[in-house]
């Protein structure tokens, strides 16, 4: 009882849904793309773009990254914040020191660097398993946090050892406005998601899930477990790294290492557990939940009875409520919002069926 076997982590993974006729999917796909790429920028105001949609997208991306590692390959990690910071600082230095590189390339390379760091951290997973692995990823987390705070080089010796985005531009198009940053984020998220979907249905994805479900059997039938784990760490950290860079430059504009502290790691882990492990859509649901719930509570509670209750109490109450919700979800819906959603769809399907 001292270890979570990777199989246990797998217990979250919901069963796969049946395939749909392509045409309908393509139409939905096109409509959705039109809405999010054209509709939203036209309609949404700065607040929605800057304070809700952009962080929502980036957190979804980070969730996706962690989900590949934890939900698909069954390797739990709390190093997310650290890997995000690697992505952010690496991208920053690339933009700073190799200005001739176009932004997307710097982003990708930043991600790759984060991926390599993640892979190095992943070496531990070859010997350490389950909860102990979680604990050991904390070492990575704290070390990276310290590293970027400690050595000025990473932040180009800025007084505050915090980094701030150089001008964001692609082919001369300035992206520093809310819409620009939204579109940058959205494109990154869309592309990465598409690739991730391919990946989890490829040999690689199958390798990961095999390791997750039963790593001993996997090695006996000739699946390269070690390299599989390392690949998982690499890809996961790559995605998380890109998320980190976006968090720094597309969302906040300025960060120092503490924006990527342990709380961030926890936040992302909440996202995939609430959203659903081993599910792609789950990351978006989880992130939406994490971003919107506090704001919602804020509006709802402070709206009608804002004057009545003291603000401090209100915040404490929110905190308690959030904790309660997390517990409730773990008990009532361990497969996360994704499972909830698919159940709703099935229910609707049954209702609408003739």
């Amino acid at each position: 009882m001292t270890l979570i076997s990777s199989a246990e982590v797998a217990d979250f993974a919901p069963a796969r849904a049946p395939v749909r006729p392509r045409s309908r999917v393509w139409i939905g796909f096109a409509v959705a793309a039109l809405v999010v790429f054209v509709g939203v920028p036209l309609l949404a105001n700065d607040y929605w773009l800057n304070a809700i949609l952009v962080p929502f997208l980036i957190l979804s991306l980070a969730g996706l990254g962690l989900n590949l590692l934890m939900g698909y390959a069954g390797q739990a990690s709390l190093g997310t914040g650290g890997f995000m910071s690697v992505g952010a600082y690496a991208t920053y230095n690339l933009l700073l020191r190799l200005p001739q590189l176009p932004l997307p390339v710097s982003l990708l390379l930043g991600g790759v660097i984060a991926g390599l760091v993640g892979m190095a951290a992943g070496l531990l997973s070859l010997r350490i398993k389950g909860f102990y692995l979680v604990a050991s990823t904390l070492a990575t987390q704290f070390f990276l946090e310290w590293l970027f705070n400690q050595f000025g080089w990473f932040s180009n010796y800025s007084t505050s050892s915090s980094i701030s985005a150089p001008r964001l531009a692609i082919l001369g198009h300035d992206l520093s406005g809310p819409v620009g940053r939204y579109l940058l984020t959205l494109s990154a998220v869309t592309i990465v998601t598409a690739v991730a979907i391919r990946l989890v249905h490829s040999q690689t994805g199958r390798t990961w899930m095999a390791i997750r479900d039963m790593d001993t059997a996997a090695s006996v039938i000739g699946i390269p477990v070690a390299s599989g784990k390392l690949k998982a760490f690499f890809v996961s950290s790559l995605v998380i790294g890109i998320a980190g860079a976006l968090w720094a430059f597309a969302y906040l504009g300025t960060v120092d290492a503490r924006s990527f502290n342990l709380d961030r790691s926890f936040e992302v882990m909440f996202i995939i557990i609430l959203g659903g492990m081993g599910s792609i859509v789950g990351n978006y649901l989880g992130a939406a939940f994490m971003v919107l719930l506090p704001i919602l509570l804020d509006h709802v509670i402070s709206g009608p009875l804002g004057g009545a209750i003291d603000a401090g109490q209100l915040e404490n109450f929110q905190k308690a409520l959030f904790g309660g919700l997390i517990i409730w979800f773990l008990i009532k819906e361990p497969n996360g919002l994704a499972a909830l959603l698919s159940r709703c769809r099935q229910w609707l399907a049954r209702r609408t069926a003739p």
Binding site: A7, A10, A13, A15, R16, P18, V195, R198, L199, S202, Q203, T204, G205, R206, T207, M209, A210, R212, D213, M214, T216, A217, A218, S219, V220, I221, G222, I223, P224, V225, K231, F234, V235, G278
Partner: protein, 256 residues
């Protein structure tokens, strides 16, 4: 080429002082079905684990396909063409039958992470190729109607068959079956025996299997090795073994 595909020479293995295998020697001829029988704790599973490298023998040689190895990592053993099914089935329980079978082909994959990520290069052709091979085996073991089911939802008997499919799809030269019929009723056993025979005949797979049901063993195998407390007490054709007095005392005497 001919000659035994697997030779064991004085293989010994012990856990914490308990002798699991005691100077064990026998050959497995190419293309035969060899059954290991013996009471519980006779060391049968340990033997399989030594053959495909899960355990390391304390002494003795395992010679597979003319090459001798002392310690081999299970993954490499699989690469050499040693397939394996498990006593307590070890399927990937969250995956569909097809995905489980496909997992058995991963060791043949020649594609890289990048090819998988972007669906370029050999990825598409390989996916098609593997899909075909998987579907062939699924058809061969009469599993098509379960093709997309999540294995954990399937009945035990079927799961055992999926396990066999996952091992066969990689076309192993030597297939180790650890109690493929454990916990099955007579019909299921008959069915499974048929599949094992077919695999052996049509796919030319040499098979080493562990089985308790003497009836099944005698009907199925060309060659029987009897173990008792890590020692070999009988080795020969079913007939020879059936008439071997040691075997009778050691094993058949003690009816389960």
């Amino acid at each position: 080429m001919s000659g035994p595909i697997l030779q064991l020479r004085d293989v010994s293995l012990s856990f914490k002082g308990i002798q699991a295998l005691n100077a064990l020697s026998f050959d497995v001829a190419r293309g035969e079905i060899c059954a290991l029988i013996g009471p519980n704790g006779a060391g049968k599973s340990s033997l399989l684990n030594v053959i495909n490298g899960v355990y390391r023998a304390d002494s003795g040689d395992v010679i597979f396909d003319q090459q001798r190895f002392v310690r081999i990592h299970p993954t490499r053993a699989a690469r050499f063409g040693i397939g394996r099914t498990f006593q307590h089935n070890a399927l990937f329980k969250r995956l569909s039958v097809r995905d489980n079978v496909l997992a058995g082909l991963i060791r043949h994959s020649r594609t890289t992470l990048l090819e998988h990520a972007f669906g370029v290069g050999r990825d598409r052709s390989e996916t098609r190729e593997f899909g075909r091979r998987a579907d062939d085996i699924i058809a061969f073991l009469e599993l098509p109607r379960h093709r997309d089911a999540i294995v954990s939802t399937l009945p035990y008997g079927v799961q055992k068959r999926v396990d066999l499919a996952r091992a066969l799809v990689g076309r192993p030269t030597l297939l180790l079956l650890d109690e493929p019929m454990a916990g099955m009723n007579q019909d299921e056993k008959r069915e499974m025996s048929r599949f094992i025979l077919d695999a052996n005949r049509t796919l030319k797979t040499t098979i080493v299997l562990i089985e308790h049901d003497i009836g099944v063993v005698m009907g199925l195998s060309h060659h029987v090795v009897v173990l008792d407390y890590g020692r070999k007490v009988g080795d020969g054709t079913p007939e020879e073994v059936r008439n071997n007095p040691d075997v009778i005392t050691a094993y058949l005497g003690a009816v389960h």
